[in-house]
């Protein structure tokens, strides 16, 4: 054990570069929020409804999409989005755009399974009653089924937020300026890896812990309201 590393711990360098690390961390938080809303809630719900469709032409593509994005690693998805997708589509994407796109698809696949389970948890009689009243599909879904499914789905969906936050750190492989990429750059510039990486780890853990605690409080409240 080399005590000099600890006794020579350079706090000045931490203070100087903390704003840069926090800027990186802000990107992680932004990606978490965007990934959760665009992927988890919007696309996840659409995929869940698609997966329960009566028409095989809608059901199968949704099923394949969900299973594919669930069964491959996010890191591979991210580099595929950044290096292979532009070749295929002709669109140039920034690291942030390709990282966000991979994250949104990945999260949507996970959340669509949760949402699907929630929709299936709505009693079948509700579907039948809504249909036999002659309600159009849009009303059946948005006024009858989804409001009931939301109650079932919220606690497990909150649980995914911490996974999304952890996943955003993976996107640093795309040179997207997240907290880990910022730490890498600063430490190779200052030659103070112990100070910089330790600070980065502590602030990342602090956010992760805050999400965990807030999540379990919210979950407990929703479960209580249900009972």
């Amino acid at each position: 054990m080399d005590w000099s590393v600890i006794s020579n711990f350079d706090f000045a360098v931490i203070w100087r570069y903390l704003p840069a690390l926090l800027t990186g961390l802000w990107n992680n938080i932004l990606l978490t929020v965007l990934g959760f809303i665009a992927g988890g809630i919007v696309l996840g719900t659409l995929l869940a409804i698609g997966n329960l469709s009566r028409f095989a032409a809608i059901r199968w593509p949704c099923f394949v999409f969900v299973e594919f994005w669930r069964s491959t690693p996010l890191l591979v998805q991210a580099i595929w989005m950044h290096f292979a997708f532009p070749v295929l589509s002709g669109l140039q994407t920034t690291p942030f755009q390709s990282g966000l796109l991979a994250l949104v698809f990945n999260v949507s696949a996970y959340c669509s399974e949760i949402i699907r389970a929630g929709i299936m948890g709505v009693p079948k009689g509700q579907f039948e009653a809504a249909r036999s009243l002659g309600l159009p599909p849009r009303v059946v879904w948005f006024k009858v089924i989804l409001p009931q499914a939301v109650k079932i789905v919220i606690p497990p969906l909150i649980g995914t937020v911490i996974s999304i936050f952890k996943a955003t750190a993976i996107l640093s492989v795309l040179a997207l300026n997240d907290v880990m990429r910022a730490a890498q750059r600063i430490s190779s510039y200052t030659f103070k890896p112990v100070e910089i990486y330790t600070t980065a780890a502590i602030i990342a853990f602090a956010v992760g812990l805050a999400i965990t605690i807030a999540g379990s409080k919210l979950e407990a409240r929703f479960r209580q309201n249900e009972a």
Binding site: M1, D2, V5, I6, E67, F68, R70, S71, T72, P73, L74, L75, V76, Q77, I79, W80, F83, A84, V87, L88, I162, F165, K166, A167, T168, A169, I170, S172, V173, V179, M180, A183, Q184, S187, P193, V194, Y197, T198, A200, A201, A204, F205, G208, L209, I211, T212
Partner: protein, 218 residues
């Protein structure tokens, strides 16, 4: 554009090297995860005030911190602090192993807690000592319940092995990325490994779901 699948086939030895590294990382992390996870689960269930707090803190820490952060911290800081020379493969695998331990400890605990209390009481009432009670009554029932989440977590671990490419461990994902860069054939290589991961993980994920379904509808 054309799809040059031959370029992937020509470079298969490097992909196989990468695959073996992935297997090694998975096995090291899994071994550490099972051993540490069982120990932490035992601490958590022991009811000893200090021990269960430590175990709970361990679980919260490793579940709340991004894996990427732990891997980078271990790779860049441990050698300086402890004057060690450890390869990226070992640092990364140990970091993943410690994370795995936190998740497995919770899976083990959930399995053990799901064994009906009556079973435990009956075993105690029959005068079974600690060891036969666990070996013949609690664990056989708990293990059956643990299998689906364990298979599911195994797929998560397999996906997380790709994170070691961040510290330059040439596992499957990094090999494919490097080959893509050398040949300017990103589409072929990255699609090929995406299919490889899918071919391994999808059947396991189906298996886990089927086992869980069977457990629920017993």
């Amino acid at each position: 554009m054309e799809f040059h699948y031959k370029v992937v086939l020509q470079n298969y030895p490097l992909l196989i090297d990468g695959f073996w590294i992935t297997v090694q990382v998975t096995l090291i992390a899994l071994t550490i995860g099972i051993l540490f996870g069982a120990a932490i689960c035992a601490m958590r269930l022991s009811g000893a005030r200090g021990l269960d707090r430590i175990a709970a803190a361990y679980i919260v820490f490793f579940r709340a911190t991004p894996e990427m952060v732990l891997i980078f911290w271990g790779y860049f800081c441990l050698p300086l602090i402890f004057q060690l020379r450890v390869s990226g493969l070992w640092t990364g695998s140990i970091a993943l192993g410690l994370v795995t331990a936190a998740y497995l400890a919770e899976i083990f605990r959930a399995g053990i807690n799901a064994v009906p209390q009556g079973e435990v009481e009956a075993a105690t009432a029959l005068g079974l000592k600690f060891s036969p009670k666990w070996r013949f009554v609690i664990l056989p029932q708990a293990m059956r319940l643990m299998v689906p989440p364990l298979v599911n977590y195994f797929t998560e671990l397999l996906k997380n092995t790709t994170l070691l490419s961040g510290i330059g461990v040439a596992e499957l994902a990094l090999q494919a990325y490097l080959l893509g860069g050398q040949t300017f054939r990103y589409v072929e290589f990255l699609s090929a490994i995406a299919l490889i991961y899918f071919a391994i993980i999808f059947p396991l994920s189906l298996l886990s779901r089927r086992l869980e379904h069977r457990e629920v509808h017993r």
